[in-house]
Subunit: 147 residues, 3 copies
């Protein structure tokens, strides 16, 4: 098992079973040291700030990272090939008066840094949208660094 | 004519006339083997799911790829320099209860794979927004691989 | 002082004081010649087209570039290491009948080109969203080229 997966277990978490993309696209694609991971949505459904609390949305963001890692593992096999995180984009489905998108996406950023250390620190965009595929609460895509 | 354009014709489609950017930006910009193509919006206007059907939106997504290729050709001349697709981001203008954004963007992904084969397969983000420039139904940007 | 900062002053503008990220992320992160700058939101708050005019939103977009440059300087020290702009993504918080997102983001593109010349020209995505962190009017992220 990779070191990264050991760290996931040590946090009391686990890689979710990889889910096939819901359309005609790949889980991830590589160019040089860049690995573009496709966006995944959270299993958690509902509008953040009204139907879903901030705390629940943070956990949804965290778990979406695990979902992304699970599908990447299907492709690259060894998650220890990931050497860092470059950029994450997080969309939060939220009412028009909700403004705490960064706090939601911190749920994902915190986990990436716990798993990859200082190299897990990353540039980020966190923004709000009125709807997401399948009515999900959170959607993330990530550009990883890969060796 | 490039092989890629031959394939477009064989599908009964054609490159649209390139449209100048509607603001102070380039059609595309290169860094090494990455070619960042600016977002283009569909000629198709209206909200998907209410004013525009899923089927019409899929065709709009497909045709937006042709619009992006037309403007790239203005810049790089030979579309056969494109060796693959790394990442596509698709925004679908849709009502808050619409959740089939991935199916809409499949219209674009399917064409890229028809044109570029396995190397046309890509990572993707498909998401929903409440409005788009010019009231368009679909907006796409693409990171291509270029030789 | 860097040439880029001299140009900012010659335009009668100034780098804003760098603001720490509002969440667990970096101001920017580098991979090779790519520098991913995290999204920043404008100090200007309110919905564009209703609460905020087009002209005010353009200035907000311009000033957000200065905010991004200020935080990058904290990291790379010398802004003359920036050799160009590859891609900018701009989100405009706007009502569902607002369609002039490209004109808003031109406020940012114009400044980048004034500061970096032809190499400041870039690929771009400008889109609309129903809400942004802190109720801001504009949000930008940028991929720079760095030597």
């Amino acid at each position: 098992m990779s070191n990264l997966e050991n760290k996931i277990e040590a946090l009391g978490l686990s890689l979710s079973a990889p889910k096939a993309p819901v359309g005609n696209y790949l889980g991830c694609k590589r160019s040089g040291e860049l690995l573009f991971a496709s966006a995944r949505v959270s299993d958690c459904r509902g509008e953040v700030g009204t139907e879903v609390s901030l705390e629940t949305a943070q956990i949804a963001a965290r778990d979406t990272v695990l979902s992304i890692l699970a599908i990447i593992k299907e492709d690259i096999q060894d998650l220890d090939l990931l050497t860092g995180v470059l950029k994450m984009t997080g969309f939060v489905r939220s009412a028009s008066n909700f403004t705490e998108h960064p706090k939601v996406i911190d749920g994902a950023s915190d986990l990436l840094i716990q798993l990859l250390g200082e190299k897990g620190r990353h540039a980020r965009t966190a923004t709000g949208v009125a709807q997401l595929p399948f009515g999900a609460s959170v959607q993330l895509d990530i550009i990883f660094q890969i060796k």
